[in-house]
């Protein structure tokens, strides 16, 4: 049987790679996909803990994360398309009007 630390370690690695993507990349679409990566790593941790505690609540939490992610992707992609229409770019370095 695979121990639960293996799943949690995989989840930690995926989360870190996703965070690195958000910090390093400048293409808004790839940053958004990195955020999806982080959400998925958290889902994996939820499922691993649900298995470890033999409690199904963790899997229900994953269901709600999925719902919120779906709404988030729809709104986020609409925003990116809107920014692209207005400014002809998805490079976040070019979208810095709110920069202090």
């Amino acid at each position: 049987m695979v121990p639960s630390w293996a799943f949690l370690a995989l989840s930690a690695v995926l989360f870190t790679v996703g965070a690195l993507g958000v910090l390093v990349r400048r293409n808004a679409l790839i940053i958004f996909m990195s955020i999806e990566l982080m959400l998925n790593s958290v889902n994996l941790a939820f499922v691993a803990f649900a298995r470890q505690h033999l409690s199904i609540d963790g899997q229900v939490a994953v269901f709600f994360v999925l719902v919120v992610t779906a709404a988030e992707v729809v709104v986020g992609l609409a925003l990116i398309v809107d920014i692209f229409r207005a400014r002809e770019t998805v490079d976040i370095d070019d979208v810095d009007l709110l920069r202090g």
């Binding site: 799943f7 400048r26 996909m33 990566l37 298995r51 470890q52 609540d57 899997q59 398309v81």
Partner: protein
């Protein structure tokens, strides 16, 4: 046997995640994301979460990645990154802090891990998840529907072409 499946899925997931972050073209990122999502669905199966694994493939791979691909196609040619960055030292700083963060996360993960017991019959089936969802979590379930409705409305409002004459304010 479980180890073989898990290790294959883990290698695919980590490789795919590096592909998401490192790919030059957004399309390659999206395909790598698809690999990660399917690999994670396999790990969910190893963790006795059949229903979540099915949801993962249907919602993530079937809907969200397709949405990403549509938007990438919509924006395709001019959707790259500029050559010069405004924050030249950010990559090095990000790598250092990501390494530290990974160390902290791994410590926490090893601290929280405990030996696994054999799951009872029917653990993680759609029936069990559904019962909890429609009894204990009924109100959050209804709220999830409202959130999705708000998402749809927001997408329609944001995606609407601005009426003629409103372009000056942009």
């Amino acid at each position: 046997m479980e180890w073989v499946v898990f290790l294959a899925a883990a290698v695919l997931a980590v490789g795919g995640s590096i592909g998401v972050v490192a790919a030059r073209q957004p399309v390659h990122s999206a395909v790598s994301l698809l690999v990660v999502l399917v690999a994670l669905a396999v790990t969910y199966l190893v963790l006795a979460a059949q229903f979540i694994a099915a949801l993962q493939v249907i919602i993530y791979a079937g809907a969200i990645v397709v949405l990403f691909l549509f938007v990438i196609m919509l924006l395709h040619a001019r959707s790259g990154e500029g050559l010069i960055t405004k924050l030249p030292r950010q990559s090095a700083a990000a790598a250092i802090f990501a390494a530290l963060y990974l160390a902290v996360l791994l410590l926490a993960a090893f601290g929280a891990a405990a030996p696994l017991r054999t799951p009872p019959e029917g653990f993680g089936t759609a029936q069990q998840v559904g019962e909890l969802l429609f009894v204990t979590y009924l109100l959050p379930f209804q709220m999830a529907g409202v959130i999705l409705l708000i998402g749809i409305v927001a997408a329609v409002v944001l995606g609407r072409r601005s009426p003629p004459g409103a372009d000056e304010e942009r």
